[in-house]
């Protein structure tokens, strides 16, 4: 009997892979994806290239050359102009706005009366850039009033960062948790997308067998459970094929695109960037390289083999749980429009897992919410994977949590597949009914 399973898997796989819309999706998606990325890149670039010009009318002595041009902001001095004329010309020149700094006895009086005129409500980034300049100046002036020497002031300006170490004295990097959570998040997101896309495929394929009325012919030859299993495995193999094609082709396309863009920035480079700026950029990238080194080291320390292993475990179990639910839903209904009432409870835990993951696990990978959701079997495949890049054991996910999570997941898997198979077995032979939850509960008790 069991030798029929490969036959079913093969049919489901081929039926899926040869499907025209599947082929189109497989080819088009990477193009779309890379195209979108390129579009976003160009749009962002175009957006940033648009330098905002702000006129500054400074009547006092405090802000003589405090406003320096930045990549996105350029300041024009309207010094000496009467305010009304300055407003007019700023409007005529289509400047972004006019910053008016009146004269005053002391810095407090001056800054208290600063005004910004502009056509539309200004962007928050622009406002905070100007506010930063002004508040720096206030600090500087006040400190000088207290008689603080310049040298001290420069030293005060230097930032401060806490050095983070764990109890065994290992140096820890700030932000590394977020980076690790993003890596885990990517895995979790992948699982969610896979479940949503290919779970729906399983469901549609079950519905198709019902509507084409072949189902009874098939299950007079094979057990409904075999058919369900074969369908799930075949569809997921097709899904993996598609994912692999996507990954490879998106990678290749991305590389080509990056190559094209790289050349174009080089061409632009020498003409637009001043030598000093270029030097500064070089210096900076040296700094970044220095700072990046420990991060790369830390990332290399993640046991990728272990992570990949857990990914496969959570992926397989999570996908099987959800796709058997999808199969049961497909069996219970006659057409796809009837699936809606059952879809909400399926999608909810997935969405919850992703949002909880992004909002809670990033900040606090081992907090109570993160722990709870990484144990709860319907969310653990996603949430646990976001926590796992932190490692297992000290400083990472406690071993008991990992084991509990997997055990719960396996138990749930067995339970859900058992339930789904029962619903499936009865549902596939029910035609022309639109069952509610009550009806389906009754099916569970049929022998």
């Amino acid at each position: 009997m069991m030798n029929k399973l490969p036959l079913i898997i093969k049919r489901e796989y081929l039926a899926k892979v040869r499907n025209r819309s599947f082929i189109v999706m497989t080819i088009l998606s990477p193009l779309l994806f890379v195209g979108m990325a390129a579009l976003v890149f160009f749009l962002t670039k175009a957006n940033n290239d648009d330098v905002k010009v702000i006129a500054v009318l400074n009547e006092g002595q405090f802000f003589e050359d405090s406003f320096r041009n930045t990549a996105a902001l350029s300041y024009v001095s309207f010094e000496g102009m009467p305010l009304e004329i300055a407003k007019d010309s700023a409007r005529h020149e289509a400047y972004y706005g006019l910053l008016y700094i009146p004269d005053g006895a002391d810095i407090e009086q001056v800054t208290g009366n600063v005004e910004f005129f502009c056509r539309e409500s200004p962007g928050i980034g622009i406002l905070s850039a100007m506010e930063g300049v002004i508040s720096n100046k206030i600090r500087e002036v006040k400190l000088r009033d207290f008689g603080v020497p310049d040298q001290v002031m420069r030293e005060l300006g230097s930032g401060y960062r806490i050095n983070v170490e764990n109890f065994s004295g290992e140096k820890k990097l700030r932000g590394i948790n977020e980076i690790k959570a993003i890596i885990g998040g990517a895995f979790g997101y992948l699982i969610m997308m896979f479940i949503i896309i290919y779970g729906a495929f399983v469901m549609r394929s079950v519905i198709e067998e019902k509507t084409s009325r072949i189902i009874e012919v098939i299950i007079s030859s094979v057990k409904p459970f075999q058919l369900m299993l074969g369908k799930i495995i075949g569809t997921s193999l097709a899904g993996i094929t598609q994912f692999l094609i996507w990954t490879v082709s998106a990678g290749v396309l991305g590389m080509i695109l990056a190559g094209v863009l790289g050349i174009s920035t080089d061409e632009l480079g020498p003409h637009t960037v001043s030598p000093e700026a270029a030097e500064a950029v070089n210096g900076m990238s040296d700094g970044i390289r220095e700072n990046l080194q420990p991060y790369i080291a830390e990332l290399l320390k993640i046991s990728w083999g272990w992570l990949l292993f857990s990914f496969i475990v959570y992926f397989v179990l999570g996908y099987l749980i959800y796709s058997s639910i999808y199969a049961a839903i497909g069996a219970a209904v006659d057409n796809e429009t009837d699936t809606q009432q059952f879809m909400f409870p399926v999608i909810t835990p997935l969405m919850l897992a992703i949002y909880v993951g992004f909002f809670s696990v990033f900040n606090n990978p081992h907090g109570p919410i993160a722990v709870a959701f990484s144990l709860f079997p319907l969310t653990s495949p996603i949430v646990m994977l976001m926590r796992l890049p932190g490692g297992i054991g000290e400083g990472g996910v406690p071993v008991w949590q990992f084991i509990t999570s997997v055990v719960l997941l396996v138990a749930t898997f067995l339970f859900i597949v058992w339930i789904a198979a029962r619903i499936y077995r009865v549902g596939i032979l029910m035609y022309g009914k639109k069952p509610g939850y009550k009806e389906i509960y009754r099916w569970l008790r049929y022998s």
Binding site: M1, K4, L7, I8, R11, A15, N19, E208, E209, S212, R213, I214, E216, V217, I218, I219, S220, S221, V222, P224, L429, Y431, R442, R445, Y446, S447
Partner: protein
């Protein structure tokens, strides 16, 4: 062992709904067995149990003397009432797939498919998709995949519903042919005319209970009512009719004839033999027609179902 299939006291419930209530059947080897009953009587439930799609709550089913087990699946061919094929799959691939699910090897299946495709003149459809075929063509394919693995038990659930008359006839001939080659056929339907033509044995199920079972001729004998249709050529029809009506229970009959005679349906009391009636009639005039009224399956069906509903 002369019975291929024995169903013993099988009961099946779906929740609180009883689909089968203590049903027993004996299906002789090499016969065409009519499983009759109105819609919802429990025929399909019984067939699904024989196909091991569902299982009885109580009772046993013996196939060739052994309790049903998964190996029997390959020896049964089932054409369900709700039937269809994968619409976007090619004919050949699909037939191969279904044959292999029944345990045939790929080579065997190909060879037999070629035979059947030739026999039913559908050879050049191999690479067509089902959705490109007409309904009649798809039905032929459906029939082929049902019989391809040479099952010893064939189950047809309403086989002619949806078939056009030409295909229905073709399939009827093929079913008889398969029976002659030794297959046992269960033929489930509520259309009685095809039962008269095909079935050797019948069972009647109504409201989850078996009402009647046996050889078709025996059942007909059991239901004969000692009624005869007669035609009598006489000068004074009204007087003769009145005279006969005094002696027997009569009703008017209608049948085709050449002369303008008295046409009657006469019901004889149990102690009268047909010859007595004939002798009596011959004295009255020229007997042009004398035939025993044999109950049709349809009559038996309606009478039995009505009687059981009245109880």
């Amino acid at each position: 062992m002369s019975n291929l299939l024995e169903v013993n006291d099988v009961s099946k419930k779906y929740g609180s709904y009883t689909a089968l209530d203590n049903v027993s059947l004996q299906i002789p080897k090499g016969s065409i067995f009519g499983l009759l009953g109105p819609n919802g009587a429990g025929k399909t439930s019984l067939i699904r149990i024989i196909n091991q799609i569902t299982y009885p709550d109580r009772g046993t089913v013996l196939f060739d003397g052994k309790p049903l087990n998964p190996e029997h699946i390959a020896r049964i061919g089932y054409l369900p009432e709700e039937r269809g094929l994968y619409k976007s799959m090619k004919v050949g691939e699909q037939a191969l797939y279904l044959a292999r699910l029944k345990g045939l090897s790929s080579g065997e299946a190909r060879e037999r498919l070629r035979y059947w495709f030739d026999r039913l003149e559908i050879g050049d459809w191999w690479n067509k998709k089902i959705q490109e075929l007409s309904k009649g063509m798809a039905q032929k394919i459906q029939f082929v995949v049902t019989v391809l693995h040479r099952p010893s038990l064939l189950i047809f659930d309403e086989p002619f519903s949806g078939f056009d008359p030409i295909n229905a006839n073709l399939i009827k001939d093929e079913i008889l042919h398969l029976r002659d080659q030794g297959a046992t056929v269960i033929f489930s339907t509520h259309r009685m005319e095809s039962v008269e033509e095909l079935c050797d044995d019948i069972a009647l199920i109504n409201k989850s209970k078996k009402l009647l079972e046996g050889r078709l001729v025996d059942i007909k004998k059991q239901y004969r009512s000692n009624t005869f249709e007669v035609g009598l050529d006489v000068p004074d029809r009204t007087a003769i009719r009145a005279e006969i009506a005094q002696k027997f229970r009569v009703a008017d009959a209608s049948f085709k004839s050449l002369s303008d005679e008295v046409k009657l349906r006469i019901h004889l009391p149990d102690d009268h033999a047909p010859n007595d009636l004939l002798a009596y009639l011959v004295n009255l005039g020229v007997v042009t027609h004398f035939v025993e009224v044999i109950p049709s399956v349809n009559d038996i069906f309606i009478r039995t179902v009505k009687d059981s509903d009245d109880e």
